[in-house]
Amino acid sequence: MNTTLWIGTRKGAFALKSTRRRVFRAVGPQFLGHIVHHIVQDPREPSRLVMGAKTGHLGPTVYTSSDRGRHWQEAKAPPAFRKVRDGEPARAVERVFWLSAGHPSEPGVWYAGTSPAGLFRSEDHGAHWQPVVGFNDHPQFSKWASGARTPDGELLHSIRIDPRDAKHMYLAISIGGIFETHDGGKEWSPINEGVAAEFLPDPKAAYGHDPHCFILHPQQPDRLYHQNHCGIYRLDRPATRWIRIGNNMPKKIGDIGFPIVADPHDSDSVYVIPMDGSSVWPRVSIDGKPAVYRSRNAGKSWQRLDRGLPRQQAWFTVLRQAMCTDNGAKQGSLGLYFGTTQGEVWASHNSGDAWYRIAQYLPEIYSVSFAV
């Protein structure tokens, strides 16, 4: 089966193409010099792709492809906030950071998350985008998304649609927390109970948390995981209180990181890449020894997976969109991929048991996504 990994980097878009599972060749770059945060295939119509991009000088935009990335067209109306009214703070999209395809029952629908935090919807495959008023103009919005100037800006990400119900969605804001809607985006509520927020004056605050990456299991959509600035969590709905499954990680490793992914056919199998979150937050592999950690029991215990990865002096940073799985078509041997800020892409084709490098010398990697 032909597969492609789409790689979004600080300097353009690349593709790693494979006709056999273990052999990849780099194709590109496309949009050389553009800051590419996310490239996502439409699972409902796999020939279509959507990309969020900007350059250092120019404002943000979206590109779409209808031929698997051979040609791209710029959106006619990229994500943009509405004009401000008198006395309101002016909001302008600086980056299109996250893209998610809509529900299978809504072909052509896409969602985009931006920096500063904003939620946008397209109903024509990404050509025209409109603000999701129910969220961007929610009465609580200024509290949920304070515009915190974290080093990379406030980010709206991890837009997840319940496969059973197009109107049931989640999203995450870093910094702001995780939020949920049951009516297609008109009304929203925070869902952060049980999540630590050591940086907030009120440790039991309803919002203001820092989810780094949030996932919903595609086959068991009531099973949620998220990697937070303050730990790794699981939530099994209809419960509303997150459980810190990162407490079961080895103490010397801790449970800080950016990405989290799950086996699409096994909701108990979840993968993270711990990073150093001590003192001034180096955000690199702990002690220079990179490793993936896997749980096969929904976070009750974790196993270190570092075979094939460098044994020392390897200071990886793997960002929140830079880890993915394949579609799990080959039972028992899940494909996993991650890209580093040093421009390397690593792969495993046995559920993380062993890793090998499939690309190096790329620019700083922001996202890795699997496409068929």
Binding site: G56, H57, L58, G59, A75, K76
Partner: protein
């Protein structure tokens, strides 16, 4: 009224490589609108949704930097769209 508009290299993908185009308008706003009409999407890369010039963009009319786009243009005025020297 036609004006010469200088296009910086990061925006020349919109103008099919042209570094200078001639655009009609009585104000900078009209020139930018006409430019966007001709080269769809180019304006939003320079001007945000609140009508502000983006942080790394500068617009000059002749030798004078223009901080806002509601500026009247005179016959013969040249518009220089400039990407700030920054980045790495």
């Amino acid at each position: 009224m036609q004006h010469k508009v200088k296009i910086p290299s990061p925006l020349q993908s919109y103008t099919q490589g042209a570094s200078e185009v001639s655009v009609a308008g009585n104000t900078l706003r009209e020139v930018l609108a006409e430019l966007d009409h001709r080269y769809n999407g180019i304006r939003f890369r320079m001007i945000d949704e609140q009508e502000r010039v983006r942080p790394h963009i500068r617009i000059f009319v002749n030798n004078q930097e223009i901080p806002a786009i509601d500026t009247t243009l005179l016959a013969g005025d040249e518009v220089h769209l400039i990407c700030a020297l920054s980045g790495g």
